[in-house]
Symmetry: C2
Subunit: 259 residues, 2 copies
């Protein structure tokens, strides 16, 4: 069976891409077959792996009725890790998709077919853009699990209620009653600032077990790795960032049954 | 006359809100009348000033044909600084506006009326969401100047070409031939990391005079201020963040003729 995880949060710059790439790479290193989907027109997941955004290469076509998901899957040069890249045109889906009454389910239908095929992976990780519009809603409607990344800063806390309410709306509104919350990943934790510790304390107090135990520290190696088109494990396997994401991959993996 | 500045970048978490609020507050402290428009459904500008997102209080109504801009302007409790707050429904404009052929010009028309009125301010600052869809395009189509904030990190560099190309498309495509680039603000500069200095060097090399001389340092006081609903000048006037933004306000003010 294939488990689909959407990494989402409408707040910008909170580690969605870094977490999507690092989790997918960690699971691939453990021998799981993983497909990464770059659903953000910015294409940071695509470039972070050292690959190009290519016109016609993204899910833009399949989402608007041309072609299927399998035809967009490309190799990344890493064992067990494949990618559906982004492209600039993807942003057009935001205005072109609304219209028929199933426009939020396009990605779910594309994935349903793909999951049946022989090449279906163990996990699909979807990197979402910083918004709660058509592309992100498609990802949430297609996912088995929502993973929220939360920067340990005040402004990021504000947005947390938003993404959790969005999940609730999709569930109670009937679009996707089965959307589970995998959990909340606290990232860019800077132990030198008082505010970061306060955010961690407050989020753990309010959300308890939904918050993963693994804290991702602020670690400059994580910002450097994508400039070389490398994952954190390729760039600096002994860094604090790599160790934390390796631990997180174990924790998330067991919570979503990927063991 | 009123000068309208849109603070935009589809890359998330790069200091758009922090810069919008800090610039507007700095100009208000210099005695300029400034209107801040929170065009991001997240509402971080609104909450960063200690105000509430209120249903019916945002530009959602005026953008979809109900009411005018002036009716949405509220006081912030600071001299010379007023606000059009955000609300959650604002996100609906992303799917509801497309349709007629002038949907990108809705905000420009609303501002055209407001600029003629007696209460027209010296400057309008628009905080944009992290996307290049309908709301941000409306802001760019309405602005005299685009101000791009750029985080001194690799992934942020990737997106810089995107927002500059978007401006070019609006100009050459005829939607807004008069959209000037005020410049690029380099923010969250951390002098301890090699990458940050490389980013600054590379951006200055490629874009020369479009890059403001003032660098905004990474400064934890800037992340703390919004948690108290205060501007950086209210929270800690002597901080590195406040000093840098005061300098930036002078620099941007003279470039856009706000002196
Ligand atoms: N733990 C970390 N320590 C230090 N820097 C980090 C960490 N995680 C991410 N970053 C950096 O912070 C910036 C934002 O991270 P990232 O791009 O992954 O966030 P995002 O949520 O995907 O952003 P967007 O909303 O634009 O899609 C990037 O420059 C990234 O390299
Ligand atoms: N110079 C700075 N030093 C340290 N932290 C900063 C600085 N500027 C902004 N921040 C913090 O970084 C985070 C992102 O900044 P901000 O929210 O202003 O970015 P944004 O581009 O408006 O994000 P979004 O794309 O979600 O709208 C916030 O938590 C903010 O407090
Ligand atoms: Mg991202
Ligand atoms: Mg913002």
């Amino acid at each position: 069976p294939t488990t689909v995880v959407a990494v989402a949060n409408q707040k910008g710059g909170v580690g969605k891409t870094t977490t999507s790439v690092s989790l997918a790479a960690a699971w691939a290193r453990l021998g799981k077959d993983v497909l990464l989907i770059d659903l953000d027109p910015q294409g940071n997941t695509t470039s972070g792996l050292g690959l190009e955004r290519a016109s016609g290469g993204s899910l833009y076509g399949p989402l608007t009725g041309e072609g299927d998901l399998a035809s967009r899957v490309v190799a990344t040069g890493r064992d067990h890790l494949s990618l559906v890249p982004s492209e600039r045109d993807l942003v057009a889906a935001e205005v072109e998709l609304p219209g028929d009454d199933e426009y939020l389910l396009r990605l779910r239908h594309l994935l349903a077919t793909y999951r049946e095929s022989e090449d279906a992976p163990d996990a699909v990780v979807i990197d979402c853009p910083p918004s709660s519009t058509v592309l992100s809603l498609n990802a949430l409607s297609a996912a088995d699990y929502l993973l929220v990344t939360l920067q340990c800063e005040y402004l990021a806390m504000e947005g947390l209620g938003e993404i959790l309410r969005l999940r609730e709306d999709l569930r109670s509104g009937g679009t996707h009653p089965g959307l589970e919350l995998a959990g909340i990943v606290l990232t860019m934790f800077d132990s030198r600032t008082r505010l970061a510790s306060q955010v961690v304390e407050e989020v753990r107090e309010h959300l308890g077990a939904s918050v993963f135990g693994t804290l991702i520290p602020r670690n400059v190696r994580l910002t450097e790795a994508p400039s070389f088109g490398q994952t954190i494990f390729e760039y600096d396997r002994s860094s604090n960032g790599a160790r934390a994401y390796a631990r997180l991959a174990e924790e998330v993996g067991s919570r979503i049954g990927l063991r």
